[in-house]
Symmetry: C2
Subunit: 502 residues, 2 copies
Amino acid sequence: MPPEQQLQELKTRLAEIADLGHASALLGWDQQTYMPPAGAEDRGQQLATLSQIAHTKFVSDEIGKLLDDLQPYVSQLDPDAFEARLVKVTRRNYDKEIKVPVEWVTEFAMLTTAAHEAWAKARADNDFPFFQPHLEKILDLAHRYADFFAPYEHIYDPLIDIFEPGLVTTDIKAIFEALRPQQVELIRQIASRPQVDDSFMHLTYDEQKQWDFGVEIITKMGFDWKRGRQDKTRHPFTTTFGLGDVRITTRLFPDHLASALFGTLHESGHAMYEMGSDPSLSRTPLVGGASSGIHESQSRMWENLIGRSYAFWQCFYPRLQEIFPTQLANVSLDAFYKGINKVEPSFIRVEADEATYNLHIMLRMELEMALMENSLAVRDLPEAWNSRFQEYLGITPPNNAAGVLQDIHWSGGMIGYFPSYALGNLIASQLWELINADIPDLPAQIRRGEFAPWLAWLREKVHRHGSKFEPQDLIQRVTGTKIDPSPYMRYLSKKYTEIYNL
Amino acid sequence: MPPEQQLQELKTRLAEIADLGHASALLGWDQQTYMPPAGAEDRGQQLATLSQIAHTKFVSDEIGKLLDDLQPYVSQLDPDAFEARLVKVTRRNYDKEIKVPVEWVTEFAMLTTAAHEAWAKARADNDFPFFQPHLEKILDLAHRYADFFAPYEHIYDPLIDIFEPGLVTTDIKAIFEALRPQQVELIRQIASRPQVDDSFMHLTYDEQKQWDFGVEIITKMGFDWKRGRQDKTRHPFTTTFGLGDVRITTRLFPDHLASALFGTLHESGHAMYEMGSDPSLSRTPLVGGASSGIHESQSRMWENLIGRSYAFWQCFYPRLQEIFPTQLANVSLDAFYKGINKVEPSFIRVEADEATYNLHIMLRMELEMALMENSLAVRDLPEAWNSRFQEYLGITPPNNAAGVLQDIHWSGGMIGYFPSYALGNLIASQLWELINADIPDLPAQIRRGEFAPWLAWLREKVHRHGSKFEPQDLIQRVTGTKIDPSPYMRYLSKKYTEIYNL
């Protein structure tokens, strides 16, 4: 078979696997949005079957042979060419996935479906012991997964690599250790200043109006409703079933305006990244985000660098006041801007302010590492959570629902994901410095509600590449350096110096 | 391998195929409820991939060999035993499906996804030529499908057999030919009497209140919301993703109270049948309805025999009046009952009264047969539709949206389905006579809103068997005769004699 034909054969096989992945994603989306409770058991079977078929098809001898055979052909190509990257990325995924037995894949799918239901119930009932056996099984699976990749430098490395290809635990620890003292110092300084008022954020806001305003702003920012939609869910997420179908979810609370507002912006950031892959990457392993951290850089940019900026609210605050006159007529733009940027230790990660957010992540990463190292048992996790929370943030969660049970990730088997959120914050600021250098009147554009040039910049530099490049490589290509916490600290420092008169 | 182990192996393989079918069903449900328009192309690919994998897995040599090997074992069992029926039904399906090449399966899935989008647009725009090339391709596929089963008595037979296993065109024609003159005569008699008034059905009814009332009554009738849900769609349908997840859809019009009301009852009838399979049949080919006709007997029973009965509205009409006082306070129960049973030739099948409904079906069956016999070209279909409509019902559709484009079936490749609706009417009445004999105070129970004994009867006699028996066999077992139009004619005649004083 000539290499062109082999490449076509590889693409056909990978497209079939992409279809199975997208079908699974839809089953997962439905599970978290509309599935009736009694559907869970069969849904688990279905997800397990699809995962198992996709896995078996991917680790087939035929794909292995195609990758081997194509190696000499693609090594003559430009290493950045689509075909070269396709073979390289597929090879990397293949070499990883072939180490994972199909039984593990099936068990993982079954277990996480049941665990998701258990977690939701446990969180609603504030009942950690109900979730505990599920989490224990998930950690057992995580241990077994890591062991497929032995020897490793750290047992957490193979988990990190799922979400951040090419990064290892020591890389992330080094970044976090450089960051933490600076963040802690900043929070300390802020705490010494008079607090800003955000009580107006907790008046009663009609949920439908919140929904409509969210839709209005993300539409102006470029969210394409022909290619996506938004639904309600317990825990917001973004999911993709193809370049023409990228969905976000949100949740609304009448007494918490920030939740849906910044949540919608956050998920839209993910969605715009997913929608932005070059169409030629469709139904290949190169479509979609380069890593969870790069993904979070996009969502956090929408949520924070844009969504909590003064310029953004110069544009949208009059409209928000119009929608909620009784709540906001007497709140000035300055007061609103300060309110949405209030820094205060709080329990829920997704609602944490920008200054304290990364501490939530570091806590989770440390607990996950301890669980993986077997120096912490699942049954002791709530206590470990609470005591470390007190240590880092100076407060203790009133219950497990507002503590160790708050996140969906563990129930979905996503051990090793959390660091990506913090990396995303750093990467977002790295990109943001560059964008502002390249588009000097960006704040003025935002003030006028013009988002097209900014989005075009991201499309060109980041989105269109999909997952052609590993995260460190991509950031190096775009910014000239590796992932670097200093732009993030510069950003935080400048912003809060103004808000809190540091 | 001992037969018990072979049976287990067969069940495992069939369960995997059931999972793929349920995943496809969810993709189809989503396509018709929530999918953004640009998702259609990838969705087609996904459905094609899933169909192709399920088909390939089903027609595998391994399943063929298991069926061969198990034959001597199951022939010693009670022929009604689960294992015996599993092998028999699977063998029948296998022998059919092995004749269909995988390329056809893939093409069918791709084509019908595109055709569904085209049909929806064509219907919205009243633009038959836009849909025509899609329908031509679908008919080409239907011809090719039928030819896989040559020789046949009639080219329509292999299509009928998809929906009514064991029935052939001549069976159905014989039933319809016995029925038509009686129905035509009944309609003639009704037309000679003063018409009843149903103008109150077309006042303005709040859509949310219509929705809520529909939910209220099907809840009382036993619809289990833990195992199902309802969503809005252009064309109502019921779909199943497992015994714990059966979904109905409905559509609402502010000026057409009957549409959502009876549509919801109809789809609930399908759903209750799907939910009623014995749990031991789960994830096997024996779960779910015995045929489309048996399915329609359940939906039509809920919609008409119950839903348009006097006793039912003795129970629910006061509540409906309470919800819509301005529209219904001055409409008596008698007037309401007559209004919802008004007989009048009309354009839209799903909204046709019980007396004219079957003529809509006969027209479709004749056109489908003509298309399959190549005595009618797709481009001539609108004219053939309209002229035959005039002949049978005495009226001509004002446009193709209210004529040839009204039904979703052809866009989904469902050629040969329509006769099942008429068969369903007949079967429903056959069962109804028996239920009334077995539960003499059924009308009194309905009047009191007690539906449990009636549902229990259906569960015991029909639902729990799933598709263990072919439709004629099942009806023979339950009623002692084959499908018979006379109970239906007795029912219509009695009902309309009272309403129209014939």
